[in-house]
Amino acid sequence: MTGLLNMTGIVKEFPGVRALDGVDLDVRAGEVHCLLGQNGAGKSTLIRVLTGAHQPDAGMIRINDEPVQLNSPTAAIQRGIAAIYQELDLVPELTVAENIFLGHEPSRYGFSRTHEANTKARAILQGLGHAEIPVHRTVGSLPAAGQQVVSMARALSREARLIVMDEPSAVLDPEEVSNLFRVIRSLTDSGVAVVYISHRLEEIREIGDRVTVLKDGATVATGLDARRTPTKELIQLMTGRSIEYVFPPRNEVPDTAPVVLEVVDLSRPGEFAGIGFGVRAGEILGLAGLVGSGRSEVLETVYGARRAATGFVRVNGAVLRPGRVQDAVKAGVGLAPEERKSQALLLDEAVFKNITVSTLGRFASSGFLNNRAEREAAGKLALALDVRPPGVDHPVRNLSGGNQQKVVLARWLLRDCRVLLLDEPTRGVDVGARSEIYALIRELASNGVAIVLVSSEVPEVLGLSDRVVVLREGRAVHTGPAQEIDEHQVLDLVMEGSA
């Protein structure tokens, strides 16, 4: 193994924030180098410096011991650096194949060779275990996980020496993650280096070779053994404190507690069929299943964003008209959607405005907004969720990926819902903030809210919920108390028949 990339003393300042303050990173050929750090630690910024998307204010980058200046994405690409960015960087109107080869389309005399691009794209997708993605479909019409796969395919389509992956697994389910790992291994076997970012420590243990830890824009540890360094030490390095990674204790939900949300025989052809469950006040129901098993679709149908073909939803005994979001909202149902970035954030607005936007009525009297009350309420939640940098007046655009997630989650937590549907509430959120979020969700439940939780992470579903429904291919294959089933059983259930 030889030193491929060496970054020293990298500094990057944004107006008012020093995002990177002397970061060192060295990556060897053929290794998987993991970057760890809390939300806002500077991981994505470092990656963008490496790929030429940001210009560093100070510091030195060497590739194969040769100092280089990466002053544009093109320069980085020419040096063999490819990246999967945290924010999906696809063009929604173009097709899958066109996106994969964007910037280096197969062409002759300037004429693009569509057929060749399609064939090559298909081969790459096949390698990723996703031969079913049609290469001439527009990317905007793919679900989030499909888009992530296209993003990965794009990075692979460049014959790169170093591939950076910024939280590639956030929208993937376990099977897809193992696909990804298989691809990573074959890359590293051929000498390609991978820089891997994830908030899931299990992944780092499985795929990583060495770890660099960032904290507040500086390298606090480097060259750690990815497999043997104790979790406690990693968390201590990242957060500067020791956090117990535990789920809050469950409440006793009495049998007399009213069933707030009742879902009866809900179906949508091609998505899911015969889904039924009830959630009592104070109860957390978890929906486990693979991406595409119909989890998110069920939530959206309960909310009325999709129209049920058969079956109905009852809240406090009253039936909601199918396909009517207003009905659901009036009945006190809230949905924190999966695709938060595109569906939910006002990127140029301040954090507090994003948090209060769906509860404005509470902060207004005769139409005039009480900004102070807004800031106060938003500030409390932002503090509880550990949004960094602290304060609620920054535009959301300048927050790191994980912190943006926290902001949207805060919005839904602020709303007084009787039924709260949470789709992937902790996606991209760091270990420290996760426990805060778990505690908040549990606290809402103790206040009598009925909660439905969807997550790709089985331990999260099992640890947080009272009861679980396991979905496979749009059908409930198991329903029961969360304590009576373990991770392996759930994984067996969701994968059954697909292996």
């Binding site: 994405p73 063009v91 109107e93 964007l102 298909r122 479909r137 905007g140 595409g292 098993s293 999709r306």
Partner: protein, 349 residues
């Protein structure tokens, strides 16, 4: 097109577990409707309807070969401008200065000095002047937008004002008559029974279609308009590309200026009045997304034909220009509403 169909069949092997997408649906008439052809179908219907109205109200004059050529000759000039506009809008910009660029190019190409040169040597000098002036204005637009970071609306608004002003200064607000007969003879003439102006329009439209749909340049135009940041990260030189788009629009204005000079045998600072609105309207009803990322040359051509035919039908029936404007406005709204519905259906859900 045929390529796409071929790949669709051998392509998608049915997967064991379709986690990410629905399987590719078989091609049905609905799929056909959703394709580019379907989007243009509405425009074809609109055009046919207009023709029916034309025949019904002014049959004897409307449905003559001469009148069809008149419509096409009128459509040719604005059509060429609109092809350029399609590129700029698809790439996420807008160009308000097209009419002014046409005026300036026509004036510059018909100054006494240029005409003298043309008379002494060849009319090519007039054409080159017009093209260079158009492209140069486009270059300024592009530089202001891409490197000056001025929003396209403002940058080209400034160009609109100054280019027309410059045209007035050069021409001293006088109409400049073209005396170079070889020029008017060539561009006023016909080839195989079809006027040269119409040939030029056809050529520009065909070249535009190929450039947009079959080349890496076109592909990158969609990318830049659809998601500029993604394009930049993919290593596309977004700024340079943007400049190229405005130069292309300027070049089209230069060509349009030559055509207008031939049709009117004059160069004038009043040429191309309100072309920007006509071109944008044609592009938009053609199905190009004003926010960028989606564009079609075929749609633009139909858009231009629809407006010109409308003009013609109204003129033949001696209806006022004002009534025409009202009809135009209505067509724009209806067309865009229809397109949005089609677009929603084609994105599934």
């Amino acid at each position: 097109m045929s390529e796409d169909i071929a790949t669709e069949e051998d392509g998608t092997t049915p997967s064991k577990q379709d986690t990410v997408t629905q399987p590719a649906r078989p091609r049905s008439s609905r799929d056909l409707l959703r394709s580019g052809f379907g989007r243009n179908l509405g425009l074809v219907v609109a055009l046919v309807l207009l023709c029916v109205v034309g025949v019904a109200t002014a049959g004897d004059t409307f449905a003559t070969g001469a009148n069809v050529l008149t419509i096409l000759r009128l459509a040719a000039v604005i059509g060429v401008v609109s092809v350029g506009m399609t590129f700029v809008i698809t790439g996420g910009g807008i160009d308000l200065s097209v009419g002014a660029m046409v005026a300036l190019a026509s004036v510059w190409a018909t100054t006494l000095a240029t005409q003298q040169l043309a008379a002494d040597y060849h009319w090519v000098f007039m054409v080159t002047t017009a093209l260079v002036v158009g492209a140069a204005c486009g270059l300024v637009n592009g530089l202001l937008v891409a490197y000056g970071k001025i929003v396209p609306f403002v940058a080209t608004l400034a160009m609109l004002a100054s280019a027309r002003g410059l045209a007035e200064i050069i021409s001293d607000r006088k109409t400049q008559i073209i005396t170079v007969n070889s020029f008017t003879d060539f561009f006023g003439g016909s080839l195989i029974g079809v006027p040269v102006l119409i040939w030029i329009f056809l050529l520009v439209a065909a070249a535009g279609w190929v450039l947009l749909n079959r080349t890496t340049f076109g592909r990158r135009t969609f990318a830049v308009g659809g998601n500029a940041e993604a394009a930049r990260l993919a290593g596309i030189k977004v700024q340079r590309h943007t400049v190229a788009l405005y130069v292309l629009a300027g070049l089209c204005c230069g060509i349009a200026a030559v055509m207008l000079m031939a049709r009117t045998t004059t160069g004038s600072s009043t040429h191309g009045q309100l072309y920007e609105l006509d071109a944008i309207a044609a592009v938009v009803i053609g199905g190009t997304l004003l926010s960028g990322g989606r564009g079609t040359i075929g749609g633009t051509v139909f858009g231009v034909l629809i407006f010109t035919t409308l003009n013609n039908v109204f003129t033949l029936n001696n209806l006022s220009i004002s009534a025409q404007s009202v009809a135009k406005g209505a067509i724009i709204v209806i067309a865009v509403l229809l397109q949005q519905r089609l677009a929603r259906r084609s994105t599934g859900s």
